[in-house]
Symmetry: C2
């Protein structure tokens, strides 16, 4: 298996950009939008690493959106994080309406520090905003030798099971764990069958949407991208009570346990209101594996499991992969060849550079 399937090539690749140049451009643009350097840096890091791993839906393409909301009131470009410790293993981090990426990295760092003393930690982030790919923060825990679990919600686009109207977000769950001598284990998934932007992309290209993934305005399954109004939860029409249940669990963590809005209350990421902070909650759990097994036992157990999983006989022409395997493969390729940039995104990057008076991106080809 691909650990997650490759996203369809939305548009012809127009050019490529090296990782450092992309990170530099994103930070330049955001700083030019009066975003404080540490926030700009965090967003640049999160978008760049998502693009590197092939998670294009949550990578560079989000920059024009973020550059907009940094200037329209939704995001507080000069936000100050404040952390309230509430127990040996717990904290509440107030993102002050800043970027969710910046809050996410800070929350994981706080969680790692707490887990180092308490063995496990939970950090609830309040007054946050969209944070890009959830995997970024789980990976930060893994880089520190810990296991990280990221639980978040988003605005409504997914049907609850047996419903006809969208309610849950694509509510992501990410989990990462260290792997000795290799890139971390990484599960980063939405609890819908497919992402909404994949449906939109198929619609634009006049292609049928994959089956059992989207519904029309009456809540009937459809493969017509133009008729699609919402997504089915993971599990589809038959088994969607499980995907919906997971989405729901993520609401409890990210909304009920943080005091922030649930999926049905959040302002849409896509507007039309770009002036009001969205006040999202996110929930981070960090665990120190060393409290349960020795480093040697952990490393051996992980290696043994991953080897066994990857060794399971595959369908003809396929490959059984562990979560993250595809992402790290894409990362290796893109570190070598650059991150592909579709024509429309290239144009909007050039326009942003001109508008804000920052150096145009250093394209690779």
């Amino acid at each position: 298996m691909p650990s997650s399937p490759a996203e369809p090539a939305a548009e012809a690749v127009s050019t490529r950009i090296a990782e450092p140049a992309l990170a530099q451009f994103i930070a330049d643009v955001l700083r030019a939008c009066a975003v404080a350097p540490e926030q700009a840096q965090a967003v640049a890091a999160a978008l760049t690493e998502a693009s590197l791993r092939g998670v294009d839906s949550h990578g560079a393409r989000l920059l024009p959106h973020y550059a907009k909301v940094a200037r329209t009131g939704r995001i507080n470009p000069r936000a100050q994080i404040s952390v309230r410790h509430t127990g040996p293993g717990t904290a509440v981090l107030d993102a002050d309406d800043g970027f969710g990426h910046w809050a996410g990295f800070a929350a994981i760092d706080e969680g790692v520090a707490l887990a180092r003393s308490a063995g496990i930690a939970a950090v609830a982030v309040i007054n946050s905003s969209h944070f890009g790919a959830a995997g970024c923060y789980a990976l930060r825990a893994a880089a520190a030798g810990c296991v990280g679990l990221v639980l978040a919600n988003s605005d409504k686009v997914v049907l609850p099971h047996d419903a006809i109207v969208k309610f849950h977000g694509t509510n992501p769950l990410a989990f990462a764990a260290p792997v000795a001598g290799g890139r971390p284990y990484l599960l980063d998934m939405a609890t819908s069958a497919v992402p909404w932007n994949r449906v939109q992309d198929y619609a634009v290209r006049g292609l049928p949407v994959p089956e059992d993934a989207a519904v029309d305005a009456e809540g009937r399954p459809t493969t017509d991208g133009k008729a699609a109004e919402a997504l089915l939860p993971l599990g589809g029409v038959r088994y969607g009570f499980k995907g919906a249940g997971l989405a729901s669990m993520l609401e409890i963590f990210s909304a009920v346990m943080t005091g922030m809005g649930h999926c049905g209350e959040l302002l849409s990421m896509a507007g039309p209101d770009f002036a009001t902070p969205r006040r999202l909650g996110q929930f981070y759990i960090v665990v120190d594996p060393g409290r349960f097994v020795s480093q040697a036992a952990y490393d051996a157990g992980m290696a043994s499991y991953l080897k066994a999983l990857r060794g399971v006989p595959a369908q003809p022409g396929r490959e059984v992969m562990a979560p993250g395997d595809r992402e790290w493969r894409v990362e290796r390729e893109r570190l070598a060849t650059g991150i592909p940039v579709p024509g429309q995104l290239q144009a909007s990057f050039e326009a942003l550079a001109a508008e804000l008076g920052v150096p145009a991106p250093a394209w690779r080809e």
Copy 2:
């Protein structure tokens, strides 16, 4: 939606039994198998509450199996739990090859105690065995005012994505949270689309297995129960990389982080070896919501979310439910009318009573 669909009526109900009578009979049988009273009590509680909630696959029907393995060496009937505290929020609980239910309740109690001081806790259970319905332990945390997350693996019956051979277990995840003035929120799900015993049940009755749930010996999807050799992960052929990813995450928690066997290494629950302890790992996380929001904010947030979810317009003739709603509805019915017992189970209970010299179950009708 049903929060989870009703299991098909496997066999004609022969009789019914009241909850206390069932718990009494289970405990009597296990004690007669030389199982220590506290272990017998824990198994009786777990099976009875699962049966009450309608989770018949993990309820009373497991008693004959447990009565067997308590006497064949797999289970240590006189096990002694030992707990090693490894941090303000962490502990390792050695189940000494006793019943997983007994270890599970003890782990959650330990987790609640740790979470009361540290705010969050993780307890890794080692040298454990099958623990019935994962929801039982999550609910025990909710009953104590905490949020509980239960992560476990099991022996192989589910295909990894794109595989042709089974590898993962049905690896369950359970999550429960308190609800003011009502029964707790409860998500209790396997990461396969359907349970294996449902496939077996359809096969026995000559009915087609639900689509996109099972595969034959070559890993090809099948609706022929007799040809079914393994299960597809949640998400089926198309989106099963997500269900497989979740199953895999549960392996990291319950095997890698406990030092116990992964799915591919575990002895099968169904034998043929019933003499060797299975040495399962299970992982429990308990969080005190009061470290993040006030009790009033938590209660209001939960009520608001559940009301909004249940209020989402449903498909004709259906109902949008929250996770747990169906289970509590079944519990209300069964508290009133008794737990249904199929004829075959009734006969095996009567046979156990005669064999072990314990009073026959007090059937209700």
